[in-house]
Symmetry: C2
Subunit: 240 residues, 2 copies
DNA sequence: TACTGATGAATTGTATACAATCTATTAATC
DNA sequence: GATTAATAGATTGTATACAATTCATCAGTA
């Protein structure tokens, strides 16, 4: 079993792998807002040079999941209250449009729904196993899969950046713990979609998003959660 | 007057400048879909190394304005008919949402409208001067400015990638020449927005987009316009 | 002539070297 | 002791070197 001599052939998938690893870490809230993303450390972790890491970080930065501070490097984004409102607002707009499109296409994508039910099944399992990180990530993936079924790639791409940003917002501003009813909401939403009931699906999605937002404390004072910003200091939350 | 010793200080603006130069060239349809974007050539043109060019190209690729073909380099994107429909569909969704938001905020952003009227004025001028490229670009910028006034940065960013993509679609699929009524449409739209008449503004925006799409030939056979793809060949449309 | 295969130039993909900048530590001054 | 200045170490930003791949040219063959 000879290793491929070329280091380039894997490049595309290698890139994608590193990206997804960081992406998932953010979805699962293992990577906290404000965490420093040191290039050399990441390079060692994934066994590539800074060149590759830099490309990944720049992709994350473009999706507003990370931010570059000039000469200081990349950090996991910390959306402030105003950012959060805009992100959630944009996401609602997108999700409702997506749900409508999926409902319209319901009859022609029947086979795809099966996968989504399986995803919900997994959500249940990890929720039951108290594997919170995985449960959160799967929840996000449910929404991403829905976006894919909309059949509109630009929309899918846009939601792909809004979902992890939402994850960061939840990390920063969630006040009440999420009752896991969200999973049942997914499943009822999917039922409505399969029947092609756009109106019901949109209502359910709207309520689903309401519930997520209800758990957040997005009043201005909530900004105080971000102590570093309040005191104008910079804190590296991950050194290694 | 001493030059700044550092080559890094300008980096952020330098980057932005190169990006905008290419962005504008695409908006003005000086850069045609399928054009090869050779790294070294661009580097020489802008006096920077491939590193910087590569970053710019990767940004354009992320916005789907350029595409990377592995080991072959970057090319100006050539959205096919299916892509085009999805892009236009997404854009309609965005533009209507944006118009609604701007109408809602009309009273609190009165001073901003002035700039937009000036932009329309410029559009008139370049149109009168038969400066088609500039006219097209300014038309795109009008929509981008509107997006900015929506007060939603994610939406603004998303439209920022949809506008040049629309430009590529027009380049590829426009069958009838655009009557320059579009400028008057901008101006009537702006009137409605200033009055905060969301319903009217949305109707006008919808019609505006209809008119753009009316001039396109997006039936399946339209794909034949892209001869290179029909014959499975690759053609470099710009060598230098 | 048309087709295949080999050779070399051109171009991309990645790693690395080096310069600019920032950060932390220590020394110096009041 | 607190504040500022200076220095060394760490990290980012850019250019460049080198390897891998593609592309064009041109023999060779039927």
């Amino acid at each position: 079993m000879v290793e491929p001599k070329s280091t380039r052939q894997k490049s595309k998938t290698q890139d994608q792998h590193i990206y997804e690893e960081i992406f998932d870490a953010i979805l699962e809230q293992r990577l906290w807002p404000g965490t420093r993303l040191k290039e050399e450390s990441l390079g060692e972790i994934f066994g590539v040079s800074r060149t590759i890491i830099r490309r990944t970080l720049s992709r994350l930065a473009h999706e507003r999941v990370a931010v570059f501070e000039p000469n200081r490097g990349a950090f996991v984004a910390e959306p402030d209250v105003s950012d959060a409102r805009q992100i959630l607002d944009a996401r609602r707009l997108m999700e409702l449009a997506i749900v409508e499109k999926v409902a319209e296409r319901a009859s022609s994508i029947k086979s795809e729904f099966k996968k989504l039910y399986e995803l919900i099944e997994q959500e249940h399992k990890s929720s039951a196993a108290a594997d919170k990180g995985t449960a959160i990530r799967l929840s996000g993936e449910f929404h991403l899969q829905l976006a894919r079924l909309s059949g509109n790639k630009p929309l899918e791409g846009f939601l792909h950046s809004l979902v992890p940003q939402t994850s960061l917002i939840i990390a920063l501003y969630q006040s009440k713990e999420g009752s896991r009813c969200a999973i049942d909401e997914h499943s009822r939403l999917l039922d409505a979609l399969k029947l092609g009931d756009a109106a019901l699906a949109k209502r359910l999605m709207g309520e689903h998003l309401d519930h997520i937002e209800d758990r957040l404390a997005l009043d201005e004072s909530a900004g105080n959660r971000n102590l570093a910003k309040v005191f104008g200091r910079r804190v590296d939350k991950a050194g290694a």
